[in-house]
Amino acid sequence: MLRALDGVSFDLSPGAFLTIFGANGAGKTTLLNILSGLTRPTSGTAIVAGHDATRGDPHLMKKIGVISHASCLYADLSPLENLVFYARMYGLEDPEDTAVKAIERVGLKARIHDRVRTFSRGMLQRLSIARATLHDPEVLFLDEPFTGLDPRASSQLKEYLRALHTGHRTILMTTHDISCGLEMSDRVAVQVKGRFAFLEHIDNVEKNGFEKMYLEMMG
């Protein structure tokens, strides 16, 4: 058997913000896919927001939101149509109203009827946040959210993430961006070849030392 993940084990209390660093192919996306119930692991357990993620339980999906490099939005539909569709999929009351409010929250009201295809990367990412938080999830998974964003868009994204975190959501993020990850989170981990090589509270991490250690681990 080939293992993408091996012996990864951790607990996260509600409201925590964990950032996982790691090279491409370290198994970060696999980990997030398992935690969000997309991939069924061959062995092991994953309890997320009180639900077994390895079972493909629809109730779990109501409690988690996922933002990845893929926007998961239909390019030929407008933001409104996209979010109304997702609101209906989540079974929310009054999909129209919920969608409009979510779009307002990420500041895209002016473009509410334009096609998503015409959006910039930063706008897509914001709309993607609106999509992932439409149903007010307890836990957020962010898979390399900063990839492909210009500095302005990425500082805006940080702001949104902070706002989401102070709303007492548990957040789990993967990224390559060390300074960004250290700045945002209260716990950091390094994943190497499918294992957690490092897992610490942010208070015990010193930035320069961490960077050096991270590069060493990457070889």
Binding site: M1, L2, R3, T42, K193
Partner: protein
Amino acid sequence: MNEETSAPEESGHVLFWLTCAGLATALWAIFLFVPTEKTEGAVQRIMYFHIPSAWLAFFAFFIVFVSSILFLWKKDREWDIYAQSSAEIGVVFCSLVLITGPIWAKPIWGAWWVWDARLTSTLILWLIYVAYLMLRGHVESGSARARYAAVVGIAGFLDIPLIHFSVLWWRTFHPKPKIISAEGLGTGMDTTMLVTLLLSLGAFTLLYFLLLGQRIEIEKTKDEIDHLKKERLYSH
């Protein structure tokens, strides 16, 4: 390591010699024991390995079906290996059926290919399982390959009765060619013919298991190589 492998190897030897003996007996029966059929002549002897080949192919596809179900249920790579190996052997023998069929048909019916129900169904069956093997070749990820293949393995086998009836009724308006059919097995047949056919069927069934064992071993060696490669990747 050696002690572990010695037991299956020994049973493999037994199977090997058993198959050889079975095939030898079948060959003897086909060419020396059984009398020449009166109306069709010597060509009729083709039937004694044409029908067993068809049986073997069908049996192999049935094993694909069962293994596919078990794979989706248990998610155990073992069942995926069985399904794949069996599908390949099934396609090989299905091809042999499609080759020997026309060779028999040419002198008897006067045409290489007749769109007779059984021939047509066999061709469609062959296409389904060739598609199955192609699909396996086109998926990169191992877990997805096994799952997709299993779905096709199940869908393909369930189609067989539907194909059979549709092709049968498709040709109802045309004169039905006279062939040795499964329905006619034993009824219009001489006992020596029946015995020969059964001998041949038995020998081919043994051959199936022999080939299956070989094919499975190849797949397991491949797995071991992949595993070691991955391990080397990690150790660096």
